[in-house]
């Protein structure tokens, strides 16, 4: 048995047997001169600075933290979040979008896609042996980027001086433990941010044991891509057909893809094969997590770097940093982490570009 993280409908799921990562000699001399970007003004804000959605939807989310046992290979358990319910309230009406998510715990956890101006009420629940193991009870959600007050920090009392903000409080449903967090995607929070447990196991959080996911706050601003001549071009946000959420762990990438036409999320497992239709626009959301630093590359592609305003073809990413970029898919490639240990571990995957 393997970790059941990869639904059978996904064909490109990687086998979990220990992969023989082969060191490939890298030609670093092809690293291109980066080009100063003059036209990144649109990158963060829309053309008129208008926030995409001031109406302010409210997302009612119920998230479960669950355990994933290893198969015959042994080793320790992993943990994962599962989306139980996602309701969107807007102008007095309510839409249930729970169908977008797989009905099982996934690594990374469900991607919470919201718009700037939205609010989130997130209820975390779990049934980790309550009363038996104190460190497992202390499971939480701490989010980056968006606004929240000290009650929704997701930390322990010795840090926040208020209370243990884990799902440990007053169970009303048998042995289920829960905690409610409130977030506001206020203006200025557009971007991609990690959420993760902050308290479990070592009391520093099981953030590198599976309990993590991404929040994407969209402002619907135009996207920038780099064409063959290394010039940037601008496209409407609505052109982005797919989102890849790729977490970079110490020993593997873990991915999810989102089909923007439907909102459907598909978990891809570790070091997944990513697929895209030729000439479609796709967006990568990279978040590192763990103890190592990484050097990400998608061979043969270049993209604008929001950090330096340069066109780049690789990116150093440290733990819990994010890096978001869009490309126009025009050839198959390999994405990989060039850090020393990662190359020994075969931290790479296919990027397959096919005809529609």
């Amino acid at each position: 048995m393997k970790y059941n993280l990869c639904p059978s409908m996904v064909l490109n799921c990687q086998k979990h047997i220990a992969m023989m990562g082969t060191l490939v000699r890298k030609n670093r001399s092809t690293r291109l001169l980066s080009v100063v970007m003059l036209t990144l003004a649109f990158f963060l804000l829309g053309a008129n600075g208008a926030f995409a959605d001031d109406s302010g939807k409210t997302h009612l989310i119920e998230l479960w933290a669950e355990r994933i046992m290893p198969g015959y290979e042994g080793g320790n358990d992993l943990f994962a979040y599962r989306m139980k319910k996602h309701l969107i309230q807007e102008d007095g009406s309510e839409t249930d979008v729970t169908w977008r998510y797989p009905d099982e715990p996934t690594i990374p956890g469900p991607t919470i896609v919201i718009d700037e101006g939205d609010q989130v009420e997130l209820t975390l629940r779990h049934k980790f042996d309550p009363g038996d193991d104190e460190t497992l009870e202390q499971v939480s959600v701490h989010v980056h980027g968006v606004h929240y007050d000290i009650e929704s920090d997701g930390t322990l009392e010795y840090i926040n001086l208020v209370r243990d903000q884990s799902a440990i409080n007053s169970p009303t449903e048998g042995m289920v433990m829960s905690y409610v967090y409130h977030w506001t995607a206020a203006p200025g929070t557009a971007g991609t941010w990690p959420y993760h447990d902050h308290n479990m196991l070592t009391l520093n959080g099981a953030e590198d044991r599976g309990l993590y996911g991404a929040v994407i706050v969209n402002d619907h601003a135009d996207i920038e891509t780099v064409n063959g001549e290394a010039n940037t071009t601008t496209s409407p946000f609505s052109n982005v057909g797919k989102e890849y959420v790729l977490f970079i762990g110490d020993d593997a990438f873990w991915g999810t893809e989102i089909d923007n036409r439907t909102g459907q999320q598909t978990p891809l497992g570790d070091n997944p094969t990513l697929s895209a239709a030729r000439n479609s626009y796709v967006r990568f959301h990279l978040i590192a997590l763990g103890t190592n630093s990484h050097l990400f590359r998608l061979a043969g592609y270049r993209w604008p770097d929001s950090e330096t305003n340069l066109v780049i073809q690789d990116k150093a990413i440290g733990a819990l940093e994010k890096h978001v970029f869009a490309i126009r898919a025009n050839h198959s490639s390999v994405y990989e982490d060039l850090a020393f240990a990662s190359r020994w571990l075969g931290m790479q995957g296919q990027f397959k570009v096919t005809r529609r």
Partner: protein, 938 residues
């Protein structure tokens, strides 16, 4: 002025065009100042080093009167001229480097040397300054070059407005260095600089606009602050677009910096609070790299007041300051004995120093007052470690601060810091290198004697162990022997072995106060006569066959800074043939070896480094040196194809290097020792079956891993140990013979026995079940029965699969009969008994060669002198000095001659699976039975 940055493309270009001339000419157009700065470098009371401002002409800053960490902050404006005179009052050379501004400069000599530095501050921004050699000890600070017009980084307001800011708008500036696993802070308010020391709580009042200068030295860090966002620092040349908003930032390389401005608690849904501020690297969070940014409501008591952390001037042994929380610092080092070296270690052991009369030989012991902290920094090592509580006073950390026991889930580079509140003895170790020890006594000044505490808990799961008992003093004795090379057994010295213990009163169970030296000498002897060295030949035993290569891992030589040699023994004459030090690569702690099929090449791991080294068997010269990963521990070939496998002990894999094209690293591959996302297994001393199954002791996950050496597939990971202390058995080495694998569990004092499919067969307890650490009295109770195999390490099975000869670092050799899986004999060994491997005995049979870390002799064990298959008559056939300063060598032995025996390898390799593949030149010395050692299967 506040206005959202809303730029169209044409506006952005216009802004850039305007910006360029400003950048180029501002320094020239505006009047510049000349700064004349006098600083000194000082040794602080805890042995750390710091810079001190003595005068600064050209500035209105008020500086601390003392040397501080971080050093004084130099504020200058772009275009200013800066002249710095540095006087070095420390005992080491000290210089000043500023990346991009001041590099490759001369150092001021130790003991009063003076050096001058000059530069023009053209480069806007926050820059680290530091000393190259001793930055980790505290010699770092910030140079802040601001624009002449006072503009600083804009902040992101709660409504998303990106707000331009002037230095006059700032309520405070913080300088926060990320070093090891510690923040070192200072704040500047109204031109007055205040040191905030280690992991301070930074205070601000709600809606204060404050500026953070985050800097780093040496290791990667990612700075993260809860509930706040700020702008990326975009290089001036690339300005012009809307910048990126972040809340986490990677700092990397030798030195790095990141500066930003924020409004404290801004946002209608944020507000006041005790906001977590930490490094987001998991191992650094786990090792204490966290503090708070406390945002107070306006008008609250003490609103916005920062709280300083532990200071090098605080309450530690010999300090006059008994009120402020202090900090002692251990440097993590590759240096033998001083693996945890107190920053003031030299002063502690100095016979003429204030503690000279106490005769403390170890540099790995510190004493602090309750509430002070112990701080670690991996400043003198080339690999990863953990800083892990081995023992601590029972009941420590009852304050729910989640600090004790101190541990991290992965090995890493960095450091650690932890406040200790409960009086008593705390011992720290490294899970990867479990003989690295550092100890702290938290001493209540109100009680007589140094407090060892009433009872202590062990990482193994033992709790409430009395400090008066045998286990306590046995561990203390081990600590004082392991951490003081002067206490190691030197067989070239004819005088008795007399380890020095601190001559100090200690307070133990029941409040009794005893002299530590007297207790230890009474229990374990004062002057102990060492057995004379006699070779097997002198004792009437046959010679060996070929050579024995011994990793004398702690032997120091003249031309390199790192320790370790290979001592090559001629087994036919029992004389030392060669010493191999490899000064050209500064070979670092050579730990374990194996040979190629044809025996031409010896593979050597460097355990405190990241290299596998290839050595010519015939002349000891280096062939190749290859980076394989952190803390490579053991190396062994796959019998069928001669591929080389190396356990990457500091990480999560076994590296395989194909025998064909062996010098081409890109042909090599890594076999993960666990599934993706799981805790790293950190394999140590593996073995391989004749069929190519790799069996690893996984120290971090407490199991034995069985892997297909061809595909890398994980076959099984059964639990290891659990006989005595299931919590942390620390499986450390595997031996395979016949159809069974034996895993030695260092902290469980047991052998786990499996079949080759990974099914558990039995466990062998290596200590007596009647051993009670509270009541045991050495010399009265039966010692051999009580501790037949305390702390077992290498556990090879002989080539015929009939007998295990196990080296137990508690000081015994245990002989296990595999037909019954029971102990057949226990033989005496030295402190730090470590390595064992079999080689051919002339005329038939095998010797086991056993090495010792804390002595300089090799023991030759004959497990079956009469060759009758009964191992109860196993005997030490001889002992040979590893010290030989006249042997041919590539570097002169300087100190610790012959010490540190660990990995051992007999050439020819006569193990089953390998012996069959020997070339004929190596087979000629072997008997027919030795040439085909097919094990007898029960």
């Amino acid at each position: 002025m506040k206005s959202p940055i809303i730029l169209s493309t044409s506006k952005a270009m216009a802004a850039l065009i305007c910006l360029i001339p400003t950048l180029f000419f501002s320094g020239i157009v505006l009047a510049s100042t000349t700064h004349t700065i006098h600083i000194t470098a000082e040794t602080l009371p805890n042995g750390q080093l710091g810079y001190k401002m003595t005068s600064h002409i050209g500035s209105s800053q008020n500086y601390p009167a003392d040397a501080v960490i971080p050093g004084p902050t130099f504020f200058v404006q772009q275009g200013d001229t800066v002249d710095i005179e540095l006087t070095n009052n420390t005992g080491v050379p000290v210089g000043l480097n500023i990346p991009g501004i001041l590099t490759g400069t001369a150092e001021a000599a130790a003991g009063g040397g003076v050096q001058n530095y000059s530069f023009t501050a053209n480069l806007l921004g926050t820059h680290p300054y530091y000393d190259e050699g001793s930055a980790f000890l505290g010699l770092f600070g910030a140079l802040i070059v601001d624009a002449a017009d006072g503009s600083v980084q804009s902040f992101v307001d709660g409504d998303g407005t990106i707000t331009p800011t002037n230095v006059a708008d700032l309520a405070k500036q913080y300088v926060l260095f990320m070093v090891g696993s510690t923040f070192w802070g200072a704040e500047i308010v109204n031109d007055t600089q205040t040191p905030l020391w280690a992991n301070p709580v930074l205070g601000a009042t709600l809606d204060d606009v404050v500026r953070f200068h985050v800097l780093s030295i040496g290791h990667d860090h990612t700075f993260h602050l809860h509930a706040h966002r700020w702008l990326e620092d975009v290089a001036p040349a690339n300005q012009g677009a809307a910048p990126s908003i972040i809340d986490t930032k990677l700092l990397s390389g030798t030195a790095d910096s990141h500066a930003f401005t924020l409004k404290a608690g801004t946002g209608t849904d944020v507000g006041a609070g005790s906001w977590h501020m930490h490094c987001h690297i998991v191992s650094h969070m786990e090792s204490g790299m966290q503090s708070r940014f406390r945002v107070d409501e306006d008008g609250a008591p003490e609103s916005g007041v920062s709280v300083a952390g532990a200071t090098p001037y605080g309450a530690i042994l010999l300090s006059e300051n008994t009120t402020d929380p202090g900090v002692v610092t251990f440097e993590i080092s590759d240096e033998p004995g001083s693996w945890f070296r107190s920053a003031r270690g030299g002063a502690i052991v100095d016979p003429t120093g204030p503690l000279g009369a106490a005769n403390i030989k170890t540099q790995s012991l510190e004493v602090i007052a309750p509430g002070s902290s112990v701080h670690f920094v991996m400043s003198d090592t080339n690999t990863v470690h953990t800083v892990t509580s081995l023992l601590w006073p029972s009941g420590a950390d009852e304050g729910e601060q989640h600090a004790i026991p101190f541990d991290q889930s992965k090995a890493y580079v960095g450091g650690g810091i932890v406040q200790l509140n409960t009086p008593g003895l705390y011992v720290f170790t490294c899970k990867i290198h479990p003989y690295m020890f550092g100890a702290v006594i938290v001493d209540d000044p109100a009680t007589p004697g140094f407090d060892l505490g009433e009872h202590f808990d062990l990482v193994t799961g033992a709790t409430g162990v009395p400090t008066a008992g045998d286990l306590a003093t046995r561990l203390l004795r081990t600590f004082f022997v392991a951490t003081a090379p002067e206490n190691w057994q030197d067989y070239t010295d004819p005088t008795d072995w007399h380890p020095a213990y601190p001559n100090v009163p200690v307070r133990i169970t029941g409040g009794a106060v005893l002299n530590l030296q007297e207790v230890l000498e009474e229990r374990y002897g004062a002057g102990i006569a060492l057995d004379p060295l006699t070779t097997p030949a002198e004792n009437g035993y046959p010679s060996g066959v070929g050579e024995v290569w011994i990793n004398t891992q702690f032997e120091k030589t003249a031309s390199k800074t790192k320790p370790g040699t290979i001592t090559v023994l001629d087994a036919t004459s029992w004389t030392i043939k060669r010493k191999v030090a490899l000064p050209e690569i500064n070979m670092n702690n050579p730990h374990n070896m194996w040979s190629s099929k044809n025996q031409y090449t010896v593979y050597q791991t460097q355990w405190f480094d990241d290299k596998l080294t290839f050595i010519d068997q015939k002349d000891g010269r280096m062939i190749h040196n290859m980076r394989v990963g952190d803390a490579p521990a053991h190396v062994m070939t796959i019998p069928s194809n001669d591929d080389v496998t190396v356990t990457i002990n500091g990480e999560n894999r076994v590296v395989k290097i194909p025998a064909i094209g062996i010098k081409n690293p890109w042909r090599s591959s890594g076999m993960p020792s666990q599934l993706p996302g799981q805790l790293p297994a950190n394999p140590h001393g593996h073995w391989i079956t004749p069929d190519g199954i790799i069996v690893t002791p996984n120290i971090n996950t407490a199991d034995t891993g069985f892997y297909d050496g061809s595909s890398g597939e994980i076959l099984a990971r059964p639990a290891a140990g659990g006989v005595n202390f299931p919590a942390v058995p620390l499986p450390i080495a595997v031996g395979i013979g016949g159809e069974k694998a034996y895993t030695a569990n260092l902290l469980d004092h047991s052998l786990s026995v499996y079949d080759l499919a990974g099914n558990p067969i039995t466990d062998i307890n290596l200590i007596s079940t009647s051993y009670d650490p509270a009541t045991f009295i050495p010399g009265v109770t039966n010692e051999a029965a009580s501790q037949s195999g305390l702390f077992p390490i290498q556990t090879p099975v002989d080539p015929t699969g009939r007998v295990v000869v196990l080296a137990a670092t508690g000081g015994t050799i245990v002989v296990v009969d595999t037909s019954t899986d029971s102990i057949a004999a226990v033989l005496p060994c030295d402190p730090g008994c470590h390595g064992a491997n079999f080689g051919a005995k002339a005329g038939g049979g095998y010797y086991a060669y056993v090495t010792n870390k804390f002595s300089n002799r090799l023991l030759v064990v004959d497990p079956d002198p009469d060759d009758d298959g009964d191992f109860t008559d196993a005997v030490i056939a001889g002992s040979i000095s590893m010290a030989d300063n006249n042997a041919p060598t590539d570097d002169a032995v300087a100190s610790l001659a012959g010490m540190g025996g660990q990995g051992v390898l007999a050439i020819p390799n006569v193990y089953n699976g390998w012996v069959q593949n020997l070339p004929s030149e190596w087979k000629t010395g072997l008997t027919a039975a030795q040439q085909n050692a097919t094990p007898e299967i029960e």
